[in-house]
Amino acid sequence: MKRHIVLVMATRIMVPFILIFSLYVLAHGEISPGGGFQGGVIFAAGWILYSMVFGKEEFYRRISRNMLLAFTAIGVMIYTLVGYVSMFNGGTYLEYAKLPGLDMKTGNSIGLLLIEIGVFITVFSVMLLLFFEVGKKDG
């Protein structure tokens, strides 16, 4: 679809804003609608738009498929690591206030942001993998 000049230019303008907006949704998940899952889906939608217009190969030049597969696990790992670190510091699982070097208030914010980042990474890589695997020519 590289010959559609309107589509290509619109995509070039839209994609950076979609990615920035997804990070905004991720960071404001505590106080407004949004969070890790929604931000990840919007992030994946931006890359899906990019790879629909410029082709799958152009996307895989940036993040390889094995990298995406690794990201699905890295996000879950971040989530569980935050949970276990607070557990081994004397709290319960995912008790953010017990994270090392943080007090009650900042610990809650930073712990929540960390697990949201984990959810974000897993969701966007799973969404992209689903899109590419379902869209394959030979199934």
């Binding site: 589509l7 839209m14 979609i18 907006f21 949704v25 949004g34 217009v53 394959k136």
Partner: protein, 87 residues
């Protein structure tokens, strides 16, 4: 001020019901795609009006996300129609 917002919300709802006619009757595929896009745009305006009516600024975020998903979905449907595959 709020009565103006309510009236305009009703008018937008009526307009999207009128555009449903083109969705059902529409002679070609592209009329239907255009209708879906049009109703999506009306939903974006409706969400912004709800934001002003209830004074809850989070609705602007939702309407932005809706506009992005609307754009991506339209392009996906059109590409599927043209190429028969998505990637």
């Amino acid at each position: 001020m709020s009565i103006v917002l309510k009236i305009s919300m009703v008018i937008i709802l009526l307009a999207s019901f009128f555009s449903l006619y083109r969705l059902i009757k529409g002679p070609t595929f592209f009329d239907r795609v255009l209708t879906v896009n049009l109703i999506g745009t009306k939903v974006v305006v409706l969400l912004v009006l709800i934001d002003f009516l209830y004074d809850r600024p989070e609705f602007v975020d939702i309407s932005l996300a809706y506009a992005l998903i609307n754009f991506v979905g339209t392009i996906a449907i059109l590409k599927l129609k043209e190429k028969g595959r998505l990637d």
